[in-house]
């Protein structure tokens, strides 16, 4: 059963079509990346899932059916606009937010204290939130999102403001949650985090879906026209190579559409070139992101 199923959903605000015929699903035990440039409609999709906005068209199923108040207790949401009660002591603020997820006061308190210790915030538990640094507030926000151990987690830029140690901790927590069967939607601009954590992605722009599928499949789909070769000798001219970029002893070859990668390897062997590294250059998600968005703009 999918944790989320979105079927041909559209939403407009006035004359602006914020989400345009978007469909995707997220399964339990999966980290799903929701990507797109600023203003693409990512946050609107998350708000549609949470029933903060109603879709104009299409269907949304959350944890097996329409969104309900009872299901909110099974969902963890970290919005793009971080929000905690600034003048309330940290522990009381987090216990309150946890209690709204259906935890009893004592359970909420015990879990919050565990998390505060884990995130090294226990000494600040009595301090008003406004006295904490931005990074500390970010950690507190993550605690508020995770404390009730949600089945479905939706996080918008979860690594903003975190140092490398805490970034790793949050990643480990997300992986643990995935292992435990939770479905996770992560909206971010940090493509290396997406590559590291996500199983599948949806890339949208102007509310429209541009790319959808498994990361490896997408990367392979955009690969095939480039090779990476390392050799200690100077690379001779090769047939079917349109461009060569070199960095130390590594060359990146851009191939013409008629040439296949094995043809280049045959040419190198025929010319007695000792090849230390030969691989099909798989583009990074960053490169794919930029290419897809630019292609989208050109077609408009």
């Amino acid at each position: 059963m999918s944790a989320i199923e979105i079927d041909r959903v559209s939403k407009s605000f006035g004359v602006v079509r914020a989400v345009d015929d978007v469909s995707f699903n997220v399964a339990g035990g999966e980290v799903f990346g929701l990507l797109g440039p600023n203003g693409a409609g990512k946050t609107t999709i998350l708000r549609l899932i949470l029933d903060i906005f109603k879709p104009d068209e299409g269907q949304i199923a959350v944890l097996g059916g329409p969104m309900s108040e009872a299901k909110k207790a099974c969902i963890g949401y970290m919005p793009e606009e971080r929000g905690l009660y600034q003048d309330v002591p940290l522990e009381r603020c987090l216990v309150y937010l946890a209690s709204l997820k259906g935890l009893s006061q004592s359970e909420a308190k015990s879990r919050v204290i565990d998390y505060l210790e884990r995130f090294d915030l226990i000494t600040y538990r009595k301090k008003p939130v406004k006295e904490l640094s931005k990074g500390m507030q970010q950690k507190a926000q993550i605690i508020a999102t995770l404390v009730h151990e949600p089945e479905l987690l939706m996080v918008d830029e979860p690594f903003n403001g975190l140092d490398p140690v805490n970034t790793k901790m949050v990643k480990d927590i997300l992986r643990d949650l995935r292992e435990s069967g939770a479905a996770i939607i992560m909206s971010t601009h940090q493509m290396h985090q997406v590559e590291e954590l996500c199983d599948r992605i949806l890339l949208i722009d102007h509310g429209r879906p541009l790319l959808y599928g498994e990361i490896n499949g997408i990367r392979k789909q955009y690969a095939g026209h480039s090779l990476i070769i390392r050799t200690q000798v100077r690379l001779p001219s090769l047939e079917g190579v349109l461009n060569v970029e070199s960095h130390n002893s590594t060359y990146r070859l851009t191939l013409s559409s008629e040439v296949k990668p094995p043809d280049i390897l045959h040419q190198l062997i025929a010319k007695n070139i000792i090849v230390e590294r030969y691989e099909i250059a798989i583009p990074t998600l960053d490169e794919i992101f930029i290419q897809v968005i630019q292609d989208g703009k050109e077609t408009e």
């Binding site: 407009s12 914020a18 949401y77 919005p79 905690l84 209690s99």
Partner: protein, 404 residues
């Protein structure tokens, strides 16, 4: 209900344990107390409370009788008897007394006496000595005659239908409509400010989106409104509790028996007016809080519908003099002025039932509309950070939106 309760308790604790709340809680009684003290000191400094002496040459006052329930020898201005005028003169020169009276030997027949003073004695001293003389003059009458003579006449004015009546000297009956209006204003202002602040702060803190991912907007707003009303009423209960203590202390010195006989029908009408009016104002506060971006801006806008609440006080003389005139009727039908205008009118005249019904009906309709309006404003404005909701959006027109 559990979620509403949790929001309510959190909201209550969050506001009540703030320094700002404690300051505002204590500042009003403190201000009133200091003002009362200053007035008392000023009055006291103006009043000469030195004893008044008397020389009774007639022997008429040799065994002075006090009026029932009064003790002249322990009143503010003490009365001291001197056997001879020289002794009284010495006391006057030594500034031990402010004046002395000499009751002529033939006072019983002539009713003559004289006052000796360096400066004119205070009104309180003169009045007290007169009462003392009067009490002695009627001392031989039976007790019920003494009581009747000392209480004087009492004029009772009653409306034609017998609903309202005024007893001469019943200052409470006169003040009650104003006090009821004042209590309503205090309740509205004590609560609505917090309500506005609570909604705007939720947007400023960016907590709204997080909260509505846990509970419904309806649960959130119900909990907040109940919590804030509890905060406002805590303030009122403390203030009125202090006022009650003050009255209890005052009752040791002043007769407050008329307080017990407050007109129940009048108070029921006031309550019936205030509940929908309170809901209407609170809902409008939520609507403004949800649509605007900061507390200061919101406070400026809310004055548009809090200021009209005072309008009946501006026209108070017209309402009292012509309680069924066009101004009084108009103000008691307009929902923002109705609670206070109708309460004042009802205090001074009989109001046609249809007017009460129409006024209440309009108030309830407006309260219902305000709640609907607040719900729509909250839904539209809850995740609009740093952006207002325009009137066009309220009315459902298509406008340029911002995608997130």
């Amino acid at each position: 209900m559990s979620m509403v309760w949790r929001v309510m308790v959190f909201e209550y604790v969050r506001h009540v344990f703030r320094k700002r709340f404690l300051l505002s809680l204590l500042s009003i009684p403190l201000f009133v107390g200091v003002m009362a003290l200053v007035v008392m000191l000023l009055v006291r400094s103006e009043i000469n409370l030195k004893p008044v002496g008397y020389v009774d040459e007639s022997g008429f006052l040799t065994n002075p009788e006090a009026l029932p329930g009064q003790d002249f020898q322990n009143s503010l201005v003490m009365l001291i008897e001197f056997d001879e005028e020289e002794l009284a003169q010495d006391a006057l020169q030594a500034e031990q007394i402010q004046a002395y009276y000499v009751i002529d030997a033939d006072y019983q027949e002539s009713r003559r006496g004289k006052l000796v003073a360096i400066e004119e004695p205070s009104n309180m001293a003169t009045s007290q000595f007169r009462q003392y003389l009067r009490a002695n003059l009627i001392a031989d009458f039976p007790p019920h005659v003494i009581r009747r003579l000392t209480s004087g006449s009492q004029l009772v004015i009653q409306s034609v239908d017998g609903n309202r009546q005024f007893v001469q000297g019943d200052w409470l009956g006169f003040l009650l409509p104003f006090m009821v209006g004042f209590i309503f204003l205090v309740a509205v202002f004590a609560t609505s400010g917090y309500l506005l602040q609570a909604v705007v702060e939720e947007k400023e803190n960016r907590t709204m989106e997080l909260l509505v991912s846990s509970i419904s907007p309806k649960q959130l707003m119900t909990g907040k409104i109940l919590g804030i009303i509890a905060v406002g009423w805590t303030q009122l209960i403390v203030w009125f509790g202090l006022a009650l203590i003050l009255l209890l202390v005052a009752s040791l010195f002043v007769d407050l028996s008329s307080w017990i006989s407050m007109p129940v029908g009048y108070l029921a009408l006031a309550l019936a007016l205030f509940v929908p009016a309170f809901v209407m104002i609170s809902a409008l506060m939520v609507a403004v809080g949800a649509t605007l971006t900061d507390v200061q801006e919101a406070q400026q806008v809310t004055s548009l519908f809090t200021l009209p609440l005072f309008i009946p006080f501006w026209f108070v003389f017209q309402i009292i003099n012509h309680p069924n005139g066009p101004i009084a009727v108009g103000l008691s039908l307009f929902p923002f002025t109705a609670p206070i205008a109708l309460a004042i009118r009802a205090g001074f005249a009989s109001i046609p039932v249809w007017q009460i019904g129409l006024s209440l009906g309009l108030l309830i309709i407006c309260a219902g509309f305000a709640v609907w309006f607040a719900g729509r404003a909250f839904r539209l404005g809850m995740v609009r950070y740093g952006q207002r909701v325009s009137w066009k959006e309220f009315l459902g027109f298509k406008v340029e939106g911002k995608v997130q």
